[in-house]
Amino acid sequence: MPLSPPDRVIPTLHRATAIALSACAIAYGYLVVNAPVDSEQGVVQKILYLHVPCAMAAYLGFLLTAIGGGLYLWKREERFDRFAASAAEVGAFFCALVLVTGPIWGKGTWGSWWSWDLRLTVTLLLFLVYLSYLLLRSFTEGGDRKARFAAIYGIAGLLVIPLNYFAIDLAGGRSIHPENLEGGSLGAGMALPFAAGILTAIVAFSHLLLGRIDIARLRAQLAERDAEREMRGGGDCA
C-alpha cells in the first residue's frame, strides 16, 4: 500500500526530529554537566535545567491543544483533533516531569517536598486539567462528539490558567520560586545550558508529538478500512 505524499510528510519529519534530538541532547547534556555548580544550592540546582524547559513544553503543549481544538471547531477536519489530542498527551507527560523535578529541587534546597509555591501549584492544576481532558476523550463516544467536547474543554482549560495564577497569588501562594529569590537574573555560565535545555525540550516535544500524530493517523485509517470491510462483507450474506 503506497502512501500518498501527505502521509509521508509526518513520518519523515518524525525521523528528522529524532536526529535533531540526538544532537541537541548530546550538546545539552554536555553543557549541563559542565555548568558551574551553584554556590548556595549545590548540585541540586542543576535539576532546574530540566525543570524549566519541561515547564515550557508543558504550557506549550496546552496552548497547542487549545489551538488544535479551536481549529477543529472551525474547520471540522479530523487532523486538527488528532493534533490536539496528541499535543495533550505529550504535554501531560512534560507536565508530569515538571511536577517531579520541582519537588526534587525543593527537597534539596528547602528540605520540603511540596510547599504550595505559586507556579508549581498552577502547574499542578494544569496537570489536573490535562488529565480531565484525556479522561473526557476516553469516555466520550463518537469521533466528532469527542473532538468537539475535547476542544471546548481545551479552550476553557487554557483560559483558566491565567485566572488560576491570579487566584492562587491572591490566596497567598508562596513565592519561593527560584527566580524570585535571586532577583530574576541567571548566574554566570547558566544562560547557555538553559538555552540548550529549552531547545532540546522543544525538539523533544516536536518529536514525540509527530510520533503520536502518526500513530493516531494510522489508527484512523485502519479503523476506516475495517469498518468498510465489515459493511461490505456483511451485506453479501444478507
Partner: protein, 219 residues
C-alpha cells in the same frame, strides 16, 4: 431572549412539580456542613478555615444540582428537542444556568444558616456583602458547570465526569469566594481583590459557555 425565558420557565416548573433537586441539594449541603464541622479539628486556626468549608459544601451541592439539571433532559431526547429551536443555543445555556443558579442560591441561604449556627460565625452583620459574594461564586459555578454538565451527560461516565471537568476549573471561583468570605467574616473588611477576581472569572466563564454551547448541542 424568548428561548432563555422558555427554558428557565420549563426548568423551574419541572422543579416545582417534584422539588427533588432542591431538596436533594439542600439536605446534601447541610449534611456536608455538619460533617465538616465534626471533621475539622478545633484549634489549628479552625476559625480561619471555616468559610472554606462552607464553600466546599456549596461546591458539592452545585455538582449535584448541575448533574440533575441535564439528567432530566435525557428522557425522550428532550435536549435534541431544545436543539431544534431556531435560536442561538447560547440562550438555552443561559436558561438552564439561571435555573440552576436560582436553586443554588436557595440552598446557599439554608446552608449558610446551618453553618452560622454550627461554627458560631456571625453572618448577619455582613449579610448583604456575604450574599453578593455567594451570588458571584454561585454564578461562576453554574456558568461553567452548566456547560460541562451538558458535556458530561453525553459521556459514558456521566456522574463522575462532571466533577472531573468542573473541579480543576472551579479553583478561581472557589479561591476568590473563600478569600472574600474570609475577609468579610473574619476581618470585617471589603474584599476588593477577591471580588475583582470573581467578576473577571464569572465574565470569562459566561462568555465562553454561551459561545461554546452551540458546539455542545451541535451533533
Amino acid at each position: 431572549m424568548n428561548v432563555f425565558l422558555a427554558v428557565l420557565w420549563k426548568d423551574l416548573l419541572i422543579e416545582w412539580r417534584s422539588r427533588d433537586r432542591l431538596v436533594a441539594m439542600g439536605i446534601f449541603a447541610v449534611l456536608v456542613v455538619i460533617v465538616l464541622y465534626f471533621a475539622a479539628a478545633p484549634g489549628l486556626g479552625s476559625e480561619a478555615r471555616a468559610p472554606g468549608l462552607l464553600w466546599v459544601a456549596y461546591l458539592f451541592a452545585s455538582v449535584l444540582g448541575l448533574n440533575r439539571a441535564f439528567a432530566l433532559e435525557l428522557e425522550n431526547e428532550a435536549l435534541s428537542g431544545l436543539a431544534l429551536a431556531p435560536a442561538d443555543r447560547g440562550w438555552i445555556f443561559l436558561g438552564k444556568a439561571a435555573a440552576s443558579l436560582l436553586l443554588l442560591l436557595i440552598v446557599q441561604a439554608g446552608a449558610a444558616l446551618v453553618f452560622a449556627l454550627a461554627f458560631e460565625v456571625a453572618i448577619a452583620p455582613v449579610a448583604l456583602p456575604f450574599a453578593a459574594i455567594a451570588f458571584l461564586g454561585a454564578l461562576g459555578l453554574c456558568a461553567v458547570g452548566t456547560l460541562f454538565a451538558a458535556i458530561a451527560v453525553r459521556t459514558t461516565f456521566r456522574e463522575v465526569m462532571l466533577p472531573l471537568l468542573l473541579l480543576p476549573l472551579s479553583v478561581p471561583v472557589i479561591l476568590g469566594s473563600v478569600r472574600a468570605t474570609n475577609a468579610l467574616l473574619l476581618d470585617g473588611s471589603l474584599p476588593w481583590a477577591a471580588t475583582r477576581l470573581l467578576l473577571v472569572t464569572d465574565a470569562v466563564f459566561l462568555i465562553v459557555s454561551f459561545v461554546s454551547f452551540e458546539y455542545v448541542l451541535d451533533d
